[in-house]
């Protein structure tokens, strides 16, 4: 199962984070909408948190995937020679 799971998780969180951030920016200052969340623009703030988390996860996943692939190539070369 050589699919680094951090890649899809990171990607999904980054995308959801981006959507929430964009929506939060657009709806910023909408008092009626954010009355529920005690006046805090939760979309913007939580969107940013999720985007940062997602990108970090994605970055580590990419690095991990590359390492695995390099190892596998190394093994293949050894087997060939």
């Amino acid at each position: 199962m050589d699919l680094d799971l951090r890649i899809p998780i990171g990607l999904m969180f980054a995308l959801v984070g981006a959507i929430l951030t964009a929506f939060g920016l657009k709806s910023d200052g909408n008092v009626a909408l954010y009355a529920k969340s005690l006046g805090i623009n939760v979309n913007l703030w939580w969107g940013l948190v999720m985007a940062v988390f997602g990108l970090t996860m994605f970055w580590f996943g990419q690095a991990g995937q590359m390492r695995v692939e390099k190892e596998r190539d190394g093994k293949k070369k050894k087997a060939a020679s």
Partner: protein, 607 residues
């Protein structure tokens, strides 16, 4: 009521896309039945560990824990403290060497290796039925929730469909998605999606808890807003009358900590399958331990929203009169009767015929605790993050269902089909059978979803099923793994006697304020328990001990198997695991000790 906009739908669709996408990405890697049903036994420990936790994070956890938090308070956290976490340590340190080391492909198969064919057949059949039942409950709960929250109402109105179809639409939608990704990627797909769901739950519930706590004025504000007994895990636990759950210390310690939790975490193939999918013995032993770490922190995410829901002020109909530009303006805010009769954000249950709130025997309104967590979501989340919260909820339902379906696949294919129906098939044949078992399992779950409607707390229903089937099971594994004298005849008769004892006990006792029937007392009522939870615990205790005593008794009367056949299956005859050679702090035992210390610290803190 959920007013969803395009943003919410976008987030939910994105999640569905990723879930099915992961199945699609894994599809080319499914070459043998081992790939499909056991994830190739090649996954890293952290993935399996988070999936181990998530597999149990279905309907009963997220909605049920919130419901119990609202009903019983912080005592619910006991499910974690003494129960689950020590059980997870036990299964990782002591039992995993036999599960993983025996090369059994499923828990029932382990029973065949250790005991005999009939014990396996009994376990495989009851387990298959139980998984279908559980995933049916998950589906039912999800469809009901979608109905109550009016998630699909807008969509149905826009399409001009009859609103009666929402229940069926939710069931078919969730079933189709779960079917798609398991059919393609098997257990690996289920495990990957469980990990995705783990992170999603945190993303959806952490802001909810933070907002809720901010609203009531922090932890001390919450303490002031609910009855004192709600905020203690242990205080008042010595007597049934002084704690909200109505269970005394022996019932709690034995029933919850030992029998129910150990029966579940140590023997249920639903969770064990994720540990058995890891890449080596070392990882397999670490899987439950890795799962135990986030498990300690989960009460904060799933139980606290329920307590917050009780602690918040109950909405009432209000009339505000003010004078504006010489005109008198009345602003009337009408709250529906079920909300006004409720406590905090937990609504009262309405009688569907009269439309009036239902009352308990003592005249108090009957509360719909299952709505505690969903109402919190609706109360605090504006559109946007509401989509995220609902997606987290949907994700938990679907992965709970998926775990059951993959467990069903493996048990059906290996323990029923390959053992009793068609023995000499090629590996390719069994992989196809596994794939189509997915379809069969999901169809059966849909059937049970339409049949599961009687309890006001989903968890009580599940605990009832577990206490009939699982509680006696733990005695069988305990004796099987640690007492080499235990025989197949002993195990088999013990299991039958244990399950019979559970049913008999349930049939003879009744929680107060309940009528005879599904709540118990269907033979005769000999004893009343203060709550259905207390009754469930005692059912489990009886089942466990009857099984234990019968197994020991029958084993002494029957011929034991020679020691040579039991190597790798019984503790005293198995060489120590490899990890004994590692530096002390790298061993799973060191991790286990650290977790144990942390649990004790948490319990002292929340005394």
């Amino acid at each position: 009521m959920a007013k969803l906009t395009a943003v919410d739908w976008l987030i939910m669709l994105l999640y569905f896309g990723f879930v099915v996408g992961i199945g699609f990405a894994l599809k080319p890697k499914m070459k043998t039945s081992k790939d499909f049903l056991q994830a190739g036994r090649a996954l890293p420990a952290w993935i399996c560990g988070l999936a181990f936790l998530s597999a149990n994070l279905g309907a009963q956890e997220v909605i049920g824990m919130g419901a119990s938090g609202a009903k019983y308070g912080l005592e619910t956290a006991q499910f974690y403290g003494i129960g689950a976490i020590t059980a997870m340590i036990f299964v990782g340190i002591f039992m995993m060497p036999f599960y993983y080391g025996s090369k059994a492909r499923s828990v029932p198969e382990f029973l065949r290796l250790r005991f005999d064919e009939k014990t396996r057949a009994l376990n495989a059949c009851t387990f298959a039925v139980m998984t279908v039942f559980s995933s049916g409950i998950s589906m039912y709960a999800m469809a009901r929730l979608m109905q109550t929250l009016h998630v699909f109402d807008g969509l149905f109105r826009a399409q001009g469909w009859a609103p009666e179809g929402i229940f069926t639409f939710s069931i078919v939608l969730s079933a189709a998605i779960v079917l798609a990704y398991i059919f393609m990627g098997g257990l690996a797909s289920a495990i990957y999606n469980e990990v995705l769901q783990f992170f999603l739950i945190i993303a959806g519930f952490l802001p909810l808890v933070l907002l809720g706590l901010r609203n009531v004025g922090g932890w001390s504000g919450l303490k002031a807003a609910v009855p004192a007994a709600y905020m203690h895990e242990w205080k008042g636990v010595a007597h049934a009358s002084t704690n909200p759950m109505g269970v005394e210390i022996i019932g709690l310690g034995m029933g919850l900590g030992f029998v129910l939790a150990y029966g579940y975490w140590c023997t249920d193939f639903l969770v064990i399958q994720t540990a058995m999918a890891s890449k080596n013995m070392e990882s397999a032993r670490r899987v439950p331990l890795i799962a135990a770490i986030p498990k300690m922190l989960f009460p904060f995410l799933v139980v606290v929203p329920g307590i917050l829901a009780i602690g918040l002020p109950t909405p009432h109909s209000t009339t505000v009169t003010r004078v504006e530009n010489g005109a008198i303006i009345h602003e009337i805010n009408v709250v529906p009767p079920q909300v006004e009769q409720g406590r905090g954000l937990v609504p009262a249950k309405l009688n569907p015929v009269t439309g009036k709130p239902m009352l308990t025997a003592s005249g108090e309104p009957l509360l719909d605790y299952d709505m505690a967590t969903p109402n919190m979501l609706l109360h605090f989340f504006p559109t946007g993050i509401l989509g995220l919260g609902l997606t987290a909820l949907v994700a938990s339902f679907m992965s709970g269902m998926a775990g059951n379906v993959t467990a069903f696949n493996a048990v059906f294919t290996y323990d029923l089909y390959q053992s009793y129906i068609y023995k000499k098939g090629s590996d390719r044949h069994y992989m196809t059978v596994g794939r189509f078992a997915t379809v069969g399992g999901i169809l059966l779950s849909i059937g049970t979803a339409y049949a599961a409607i009687n309890f006001n707390n989903i968890m009580d229903t599940l605990q009832l099923v577990f206490s009939f089937v699982n509680a006696p099971l733990f005695a069988t594994f305990l004796l099987g793994m640690f007492w080499k004298r235990a025989t197949g005849h002993g195990a088999f008769s013990g299991l039958i006697a244990g399950t019979a004892a559970a049913m008999l006990h349930h049939g003879l006792t009744l929680p107060i304020e309940a009528r005879s029937g599904i709540h118990g007392g269907w033979i005769a009522v000999l004893h009343h328990y203060p709550s259905d939870m207390a009754q469930n615990f005692w059912t489990a205790i009886f089942a466990f001990w009857v099984n234990f005593i019968v197994t020991v008794g029958v084993s002494y009367c029957t011929k034991p198997r020679p020691d040579a056949e039991l190597v790798g299956l019984v503790h005293s005859l198995t060489p120590k695991p490899e990890s004994a050679k590692l530096v002390w702090w790298k061993r799973p035992e060191a991790l286990a000790a650290a977790i144990l210390l942390a649990v004790i610290a948490l319990n002292i803190f929340f005394y």
